[in-house]
Amino acid sequence: MKFTLSWLRQHLETEASLEEITYALTDLGLEVEGVEDPGARLAAFRIGYVREAEQHPDADRLRVCKVETADGLQQIICGAPNARAGIRVVVARPGDYIPGLDTTIAVGKIRGVESFGMMCSERELELSEEHDGIIELPEDAEVGQRYVDYAKLDDPVIDIAITPNRPDALGVAGIARDLAARGLGRLITPAPEPVPGSFTSPVGVSIDASAQAHCPLFLGRYIRGVKNGPSPKWLQDKLRAIGLRPISALVDITNYMTMDRARPLHVFDAKNVAGDILVRKAAPGETLTALDGRVHTFDGTETLVCDANGPSSVGGIMGGEGSGCEPDTTDVFVEAAWFEPVSTAATGRRLKINSDARYRFERGVDPEFTRPGLEMATRLILELCGGEASEIVTAGAVPETARSYGLDPARVVSLVGMEIAEEEQVRTLEALGFAVTRTGDRLSAAVPPWRPDVHGEADLVEEIARVASLSKLVGKPMSRVTTGVTRPTLTPMQMRERRARRTLAMLGLNECVTYTFVSDTEAALFGGGEPARRLENPISSEMTNMRPSLLPALLSAAARNQARGHGEIGLFEIGPLFEGGEPGEQKLVAAAIRTGHTAPRNAWGSRRPVDLFDAKADAEAVLSACGAPVERLMVLRDALPDWYHPGRSACLSLGPKTPLAMFGELHPRVLSALGVKGPAVALTVFLENIPFPRAKGTTRPALEVSDYQAVERDFAFVLDDTVEAEAVLKAARGADKGLIERVSVFDIFAGKAASEQLGEGRKSLAISVRLQPKSGTLTDKEIDAVAAKVVAAVTRATGGTLRG
C-alpha cells in the first residue's frame, strides 16, 4: 500500500517528521517497506522551451531542436513524434541520470549532429508507462525551473506492507487512525456530506435470493449530464505518485476512493446499462469479458452484477469490458455494494483476477461506510465532472457486524508483561474506534465495523500492545523448570539419531540433507511412485514423490560428485522415508552409500575399490552405536528389495520379521538409471526398529577375566563354494561353548585357483579358534579334544573336511 506524506496529512494533523511517522508505522505493525522521495531522484531535471525544431539532415524521424534551458540555448536531437517548436518540456542535461533508461546522458553525436541533452518522456522519468512522446507542460511552466518543484513531486511516497488482518489500513484514512492512536497527531478525516438526489434513478437495483449471502447490500445512484475529461492535476498527481495511471475523472475518482477510504466502487456508463440491475449467482457456463481483456467462464459459484442483457461485472472483483466509462460518457450509474470476503476470495482465486477491489473485499470492507462512500464519490463526481445526482437506490441491508468483547485490564498486563495503565488501555481502544464500557473490574469493547479481524479478548490485547509499542518491551527472566542442574531433554530415540549421525561421520562419510521429494523415476526404482505418495502440485518434475528411500537422492548426489571428478565418495543422510501418504507413515532411517575407492591414490597401497563389506561394517557400526546386539543378529538373504544386487546384499535382523538394517551392492540397472558409475554399495539402518535395552541403570556387569593362558588354534576347511562363513563360524562356536571364546575367519582361498587345487566348486576357509580356560591351564590333551570337536562340528554342519 503506497501513499504520499501529503495525502496522509489530509487525514492526520501532525507535527511529526517523516522519520517519526515511518518508525511509528513499522512499530504499529504497518511495516514500512520503502520510502521514496521522487524529488531526490528527479532533482536534476529542469524545464525547457523548444524554440525551433528542424528535420535532421540524415534521419527522417529525428528532429534537431533548439531548446531554451537553464544553461541557455542548447541543441538537442529528439526522436519523439511530438517534438516541435513552442512546447515546454523536461530537459536532462549531459551528466544527468535517467532512471527509466538506467543510463547517464552524455554529449553525443546522432547521425553526425551534436546533441547536448535529452527531452524526457514520463516513462524515462519513471512517472508512468507513457512513452508515446516527450512530456509537454502547460504554459505556466517556467524555463529553468526544477521539474519536481513545478510538478510538486517532492512529496515522499511511503510504501507499507499490510498484514491480512488489517483491511482498514488499505486506505489512507485507516493508516492515519493508527498513527493518531499512537499519539502522532489528530485524526481529521472529514465525514462525507450527503448529496440530496434531485430525481428518481431510472435504473433500479435488486439482489436475487441466490446472491443475498454474498452481496447483502447494493446501493446505486444515477448521475446525469457528467463531463468525463481528464481529472484535475491534484488528483492525477496523487494517483501518479503512488504508481497509478490517471485515466479519466470518473475512473480516477473510484481509484481515489479505494486508496483514500478503502472503499471500492464501480461506475457504469449508463448508456450500457439495459433496464435494472440485478445481483445474482452466475449460471454455470456463463461468460463475461472483463476489463482485463480476458473472457471468464463461470462455474455458478460467482456473484454477478447483471442488467437486462446479462452479466456486466464480477461482483467485488472486476467490471465487464463494456461497462466502463469512456471520454464521451454523459450519464453514469455509480455502484456501492458490499461483497462477502470468503466468496470474493474464492471467486478471485478461481478466475485468477487480482484487483484492488478484490484485495479489499476479500479482506473485509467496512459495510457501514457503503452509503457514506457513495455520497463522497457523488460529491467528487459532481465537483469534477458536473452533472446531477439521483436519489440513492437500495437493495438489501447493511450486514450486522456489531459485537463486543470483555477485557480484563490485568490480563493485558500479564500477557504482554508491560505495565499499561487501565486508562491508557481504554484510551487506545477508543482512539482506534472501539466503544469501551465498564462493568466492575472488566471492560467491554464494541468493535468498530472496519475491524472484521477482531474476534475476542486476545485481539483487543494485541491492539493495546501494538499501540503501546512492543519495542518498549523489556525482557524478564523466565523461571527455570528445575532449580538445580538442568536435566536431559532428549528422548532415547533422539539420542540414538545423534549417535548414528556422529558414528557415520566418524567412519569417514559426509552428511547430506537432500530433498524429501524425488522424481517419478527415482521413486519407481526404489519401490515407490504410487499415487498415495505423490504430490498433487509438485514444483518440478524432479520433485514429484515423497521419497520411499533415502538412497536415490544420495546416489544422484554421488553421480553429480563423480561428474566433478571425485573418486572416493561416501555420503549419508538421516531422516524420514515415507511408506504412505498419511501423517505418521514416515520412518526415521540412517542411510549411506559408498562408491569408488576407499582412499585417494597413494604410495601405500591402501587404496582399494569399496565393496559390500564396507557397507556391512558401516551398518554394524551404526547398529552398535544404537545399542543393537550386533553379535546376535541374523544375516538374511531372502525378501530383499530389488534395487540391490541379488547375490550381494542382505538384511541384519533379530528375527525374520523386522529388519534392523539392509546393506549390499546396488543393482547395476539402478546405478545406470541414476547415472552412477558403479559399483556402489549402500546401507539403510531402520533406527526405530532397534529395541531399546530393557535395563535402565548405569551399572555395567562385572568384568570377568581369566588368569589362565588363552590358546589359539587354526583350522582350514575345504568346503563347497556356496557354504557361508557364518555356518562354519556358528558350528565352531558351538563346539565347546565353555572354552571357545572367539572364532574368526583369517583366510579364504576361493575362485579358479582354489578349484584347480581343491577340486571344482571347492574353496578353503581358515578360522582361528581362541580357547580361554577359566579353571586351569589347558593340557595338550584337552586342547586336542576341543580341536577334534571343532572339526567334527564344522564337518557335520557344512560337509567340509579339514584341509590336509
Binding site: 491480512p164 557415520l504 540433507v513 524429501t516
Partner: protein, 360 residues
C-alpha cells in the same frame, strides 16, 4: 712374575684389533678359554709354593679380570657400532604423506539443530517432533488459519494426492513446524516447554528460497508466561547461539493467525565490510516471528486459555546457520556437493555443549 706384562700387552692389543665379535671370541678363548694361556697359568698356581702363590695369584687374577672387562667393553662398542649402522640404513623419507584417512562431516543443519537444542535444553525445553505430511487441520485450522484465510494461499502449500472418492481435505506437506505445537500440547498438556525443529515445505524456488527448508518452533505455556519472558528467552538464546555477550532484540508488532499479540523480532547487528557481527552496530536483522499463543491454538491443543498462557516463536534453522557460519547460498545446503560438505561441515567430535562452547 715376568711374562704377565707380555701377556697383557699381547691380549689387550689383540682385543683392540678385533674387528668383529668372532675375532673377540677367538681372543677370549686364547686367553681365558679352558686351554687359554691365562687359564693355563692359573692352573700352574697349584704347583707353586704358598709364598710364590701369594704374589703370583692376585697378579694373575687381576690380569684375567682386565682381559675379561676389555673384551666386554670391546663387545659393547661393536654392538653400538652395528646398531648405529643399522639405524643409518633405516633412513626413511619423512616428508612422504601418510596413508590417507577418511574424515567425515556433519551437515550444518544437523550441527545447528543440536546447538539450538543444547541452548533450549538448558532452559528446560524438550525436543518435540511431528509428521511432515500433515492433515490440513493440524497445519491450518488448529492454528487459527481458517479455510478462507489468505495465508493458506500465500503459503504456497504443497498438497498430497487425494484418491478418487476420498472426500477428506487433501493432506499437506507441513508449511511450518507449528503443527508440532498442537501435537505436543495434546500429548503433554500444560505446563509445557518444547522446541520443534524439522523440515518444512513451501512451493517456492529461487535465489533465496528452496521448496524444503528447516525451521525450529518454540513453545512455552505456563500460568503467567508473558511476552516480556519471550523477549528475555530470545535474547538469551541469541547471545548463546551467536556466542557473544549479549544480543538486543527489537520487537515489531505484526500479525500471525496463531499468536496474539504477534511480533517480528529483529536482532542488533552490524554489516561492516560485508561481515555480520551480531549484538553490535546500528543495523537490525529480522530473524523470526513470534507472539503469545492465540486462545484458539491453546484450545486446539486441549489447553484451557483461561488457565494457561504462553508464547511461541519460529525461525529458520538454515537461516541462522547461514548467519552464524557465513554460508552464502541456501540452495547449496541441499546440493550434497562434497566440496561444500567438507568446507562447511563439522567434525564428528564437535558435539555442541554449553560448557565447552557451541562452536568449540
Amino acid at each position: 712374575m715376568d711374562g704377565l706384562d707380555t701377556l697383557r700387552g699381547r691380549y689387550l692389543g689383540a682385543i683392540a684389533d678385533a674387528a668383529d665379535e668372532a675375532a673377540l671370541e677367538a681372543v677370549r678363548l686364547a686367553a681365558l678359554g679352558k686351554k687359554g694361556e691365562v687359564s693355563l697359568k692359573m692352573r700352574e698356581l697349584g704347583r707353586m709354593s704358598p709364598e710364590e702363590r701369594q704374589s703370583a695369584g692376585p697378579a694373575l687374577n687381576a690380569l684375567k679380570d682386565e682381559i675379561a672387562s676389555a673384551i666386554s667393553a670391546a663387545k659393547a662398542g661393536l654392538q653400538d657400532a652395528a646398531l648405529a649402522e643399522r639405524l643409518r640404513a633405516e633412513w626413511l623419507d619423512v616428508t612422504l604423506p601418510p596413508r590417507p584417512a577418511q574424515t567425515g562431516t556433519i551437515h550444518p543443519i544437523s550441527q545447528v539443530t543440536e546447538e539450538v537444542a543444547a541452548i533450549f535444553g538448558d532452559l528446560g525445553f524438550g525436543v518435540a517432533e511431528g509428521p511432515q505430511i500433515e492433515t490440513d487441520w493440524y497445519n491450518f485450522d488448529a492454528l487459527n488459519i481458517r479455510p478462507e484465510h489468505p495465508a493458506r494461499t500465500e503459503m504456497d502449500t504443497f498438497y498430497m494426492h487425494r484418491a478418487e472418492g476420498d472426500n477428506r481435505p487433501p493432506h499437506v506437506l507441513r508449511t511450518h513446524t507449528s503443527p508440532v505445537q498442537i501435537r505436543a500440547m495434546q500429548a503433554q498438556g500444560a505446563p509445557i516447554r518444547v522446541i520443534a525443529p524439522g523440515r518444512v515445505y513451501r512451493s517456492d524456488f529461487d535465489q533465496t528460497h528452496t521448496p524444503m527448508f528447516n525451521q525450529v518452533e518454540g513453545l512455552a505455556i505456563d500460568r503467567d508466561i508473558s511476552m516480556a519472558n519471550l523477549k528475555w528467552v530470545l535474547e538469551e538464546f541469541f547471545a548463546a547461539f551467536f556466542e557473544v555477550d549479549g544480543v538486543e532484540t527489537r520487537f515489531r508488532a505484526s500479525h500471525f493467525p496463531f499468536t496474539e499479540p504477534s511480533a517480528e523480532v529483529d536482532i542488533r547487528c552490524s554489516w561492516a565490510g560485508g561481515q555480520l557481527r551480531v549484538g553490535e552496530g546500528d543495523d537490525w536483522l529480522e530473524v523470526l516471528g513470534s507472539g503469545m499463543v492465540h486462545p484458539h491454538v491453546l484450545r486446539s491443543g486441549g489447553i484451557d486459555p483461561e488457565q494457561w498462557q504462553g508464547f511461541a516463536f519460529g525461525m529458520g534453522i538454515d537461516r541462522i546457520a547461514m548467519l552464524k557460519y557465513g554460508i552464502p547460498d541456501l540452495r547449496a545446503f541441499f546440493d550434497s556437493d562434497l566440496r561444500w560438505l567438507r568446507h562447511y561441515g563439522f567434525s564428528a567430535l564437535q558435539t555442541p555443549t554449553l560448557y565447552a562452547g557451541l562452536g568449540a
